[in-house]
């Protein structure tokens, strides 16, 4: 009787330790996309804004969240609550209330921009805040919602992205080592077809409904007048509200929480490309940003002893990289000042010689020159007058 008891304790202990933060990534990114426009698609905007709030709450900074919203329901004239978006009929939480940084809005939400975002192929003008600057240590959470069908998702009622396009974009990202792991979540009709074509490694995907199956909205708000959230996202958020930064719940727990009774469709999960098993992947590996923090163990008293203060004696010099740099700078200054005295001497002389041309130092001072000029010009003038007088007197004689 005791053995199974011990075993269960050991197993429980092991599972506690196995589900640990994945050291394979050092930064987290989130790409949240709402692809549909118009007021009646209010719920898609609310879905995305709810996800935005969740990832932000769990520590992903705004600079690492790319938010694509194809419409602005908060400022829609039909919105009875201007400037607010709610995801629940109780309207307890305003999703638009706090600072929301929308990176792509309105007609910027296009298939081309989405593919460019993933593959990072932009012109030089593209600002950093609108780029997915991930690297091989990045875990990316991608959430998409909108209206879709078999192997496609509509963008703006104007174009559509196919499952092949996303799969190829992921392949390009993998080729350039732009991610460590991707968690792809899609809430749309026939959502599971969207991830069916993926072939790049380390991609985990979950969709709200299988082929030929619709995804449904959860409930409507009478005063808003339209449905405010989709079922799949609603139950995802219900799960996520339990998560804190130190949560040890895994993605398997999230997947287990979806039931047909709740979601009214068959949620699908694609794990074959993913190296880890979902029960060993913390939810915060994708939805949060947990950074390791270590105490700096090096002996800081050495740093205190090494500090060169003003008026420091030379004998107190302690080897330290900052002191070495200061010493090197001092040497190079000394060297360059020595060099100046030898190499730049003629230049300095020439500068001095230039100074010697200063008019104040020459003999031709203004105080001397001006009276001289006046004196000489007077002389010339008198001489000229005399010559003229002579000629005039001669002419009068002639007359």
């Amino acid at each position: 009787m005791r053995l199974p008891g011990y075993l269960s304790i050991i197993v429980a202990f092991l599972t506690i330790h196995v589900v640990n933060a994945n050291p394979g990534h050092t930064n987290n990114w989130a790409v949240l996309v709402c692809t549909s426009r118009f007021w009646f698609n209010y719920r898609h905007m609310a879905n995305v804004l709810s996800m935005y709030r969740t990832v932000k709450r769990l520590g992903i900074p705004d600079s690492q969240i790319i938010l694509m919203l194809s419409d602005d329901v908060a400022c829609n004239s039909r919105n009875l609550f201007p400037g607010s978006v709610f995801n629940n009929a109780d309207r307890a939480l305003d999703l638009y209330g706090e600072s929301v940084e929308v990176d792509y809005k309105g007609y910027e939400v296009t298939v081309e921009n989405f593919i460019r975002l993933l593959t990072d192929r932009w012109s030089d003008e593209q600002p950093k805040s609108k780029r997915l600057l991930t690297d091989e240590n990045s875990n990316i959470f991608i959430y998409m919602t909108g209206h879709g069908g078999a192997d496609f998702l509509k963008f703006q009622d104007a174009e559509e992205i196919s499952s092949h396009d996303i799969a190829d974009a992921f392949a390009q990202m993998h080729e350039k080592k732009r991610y460590n792991e991707i968690f792809f979540m899609v809430d749309t009709c026939q959502a599971n077809t969207m991830y069916s074509k993926f072939y790049s490694p380390n991609v985990l995907a979950v969709g709200s409904s299988k082929l030929d199956e619709s995804s449904y909205s959860h409930h409507s708000d009478v005063e808003v007048g339209v449905a405010v959230i989709d079922r799949f996202t609603y139950y995802t958020l219900e799960f996520m509200e339990k998560i804190e930064k130190n949560s040890s719940l895994s993605l398997q727990d999230l997947f287990d929480s979806y039931t047909f009774e709740k979601v009214h469709s068959h949620v699908g999960v694609k794990t074959d490309l993913f190296e880890r098993i979902p029960s060993q992947v913390l939810v915060t590996d994708f939805f949060g940003s947990v950074k390791h923090i270590f105490k700096d163990e090096h002996d800081q008293s050495e740093d205190f002893n090494a500090v060169i203060k003003d008026g420091h004696e030379q004998e107190d010099y302690v080897d330290h990289i900052v002191n070495l740099a200061i010493e090197k700078k001092r040497k190079s200054v000394a060297r360059s000042s020595n060099a100046t005295s030898v190499e730049q001497a003629p230049l300095i002389n020439s500068r001095e010689s230039l100074v010697s041309f200063d008019k104040s130092k020459t003999e031709f001072k203004w105080s001397v020159t001006v009276p001289r000029v006046i004196f000489f010009s007077l002389l010339i003038f008198i001489f000229y007058l005399q010559v003229q007088d002579k000629t005039q007197s001669q002419s009068t004689l002639r007359c």
Binding site: A21, G59, R116, D165, D296, S301
Partner: protein, 517 residues
Amino acid sequence: MSQLGLRRVVALWFVAVYILVGIPLWYKLTTIYRAPLPSTYIRSIQENMHSDVHVVVPVYVRSETYKFPDIHDAIQAQVNALILSKATAVNWSLQVLQPEQGQVLDPESDHVLTLVLDDFTGYSVAYDSKETFVFFDNEAVVSNDVPFFAAQTLVEHTFATEWNHISRGEDENDGLREPNSEMAISYAPAVHLSISLLTGDGRPVAWDIDSTLEQYFTPLRRFLSPLVNFTVDTSIVQFNDLNLESLHQSQNPSWQDLAHTIDLSELSSMNYYLEKNALNLAIVFPSPEVGQLAFINATKERPWQSFMVPQWGALVVNKEALPDNSRLTKDYLAPVIYSFARELFQFLGLTSETADLTTPYTTIDSFKRLTTLKSLEQGVETLWSLVKLTEQFPQMSVPKQVLDDVVRALDLRLQIIELLNDPNQGGDVTWNKALWLSNAFVEVCEKAFFHKEMVQQNFFPQEHKVAVYLPLLGPLSVITFTGLINALREKKESTDPDKGQESEEKREKEAAESKVT
């Protein structure tokens, strides 16, 4: 020419223009331009990475007491034997040189090995230059051990960092060993440093950061400038103590507790800087309402404790809150900068976690060469990815600019290799130039890979093309070809005179009937 003949000729002309001009023009305008990349060459480089690289580091040997005429050859032989004892990822060797008559050696630029006669045998690597001293006694000279001592000192001590990275065991893959530190940011020639002073409340506070940085950090910035260029900004952030108040009673929090509590999101925005990488130094004071932070192991001299966040930067957390109207002076800030300087070397990947900086000159010198080699690897991998992608996606356009960049990158690669391989070049200037070129190489490779136009057509399915072309070309084709067919048919009718007469009579009859009715 009859009217029918003219119509026939016109129809034929239309078809001829359609086929001879229209189709080639359509083909020309709709073909995706794919510049021919030198894929075979790139493949061969990628498959035999570093096969054409042979890094040669010159080392000058001088002897202060004895004159050994053949010591250079002897040390060279020993060095070669030591290097050959292990497999290497890159061809790497030391070139032992004798200073020429009258040549002045500069140990700050070139590696110099000085043989010193002493009472014991040993070695020492200088702190402030690239000079290595090998001490030997007379016994060592008699037993002819000096060359071996010298060689061992060089390979296993002076160049230890480099040698450890380059050599590899039999079971390891090709390529250079990656440092196993998660602390270091990926190498980039420009790094932004953001220094912030955070207080938990809004009381006024000031700091002498400008003069402190000028005195202590600017020399370091200059010292590291061949390797990394720093841009620095400073700021005071109030009402933000990174959520430390929730830890103030905790005595000994684990790293998980710290990681889950400390909120760095407000300081993690990279968007304001042009640089690819950024490091942070945050000096945090709790607010007086929170009181002392129990977990901070402060001393009387040092009122703070430093924490390191991998690839992010350092946190200097103070135990006590700041008094009102405080001004942080140089006396407080200088030790913080000194401590951060040592951490900075870990963040840059120059040293491992032990923060060992006993020989900064040789460490930095080795780092330059290793970074150059890694950049060569990285750039080639990027080019190879580009080639693979263009082969995988036949719809992807490959603009001429991409080809130009690839050619330029390959040219840069050859220039770098020429510098690395030349045994007569090996001063600071050479390695700086190689590093600079390798940064340019990586940049050009990335530019080629991320070319803007390589997205177009990629998400454009074939059915869409049909949907676009059909309404445009359909009516044109129908009119042109049915016109020609009609003309040809009429030709047949007109060649049969009886049929023609009959039909004329028929038409006349019909006309008469219509008049009667």
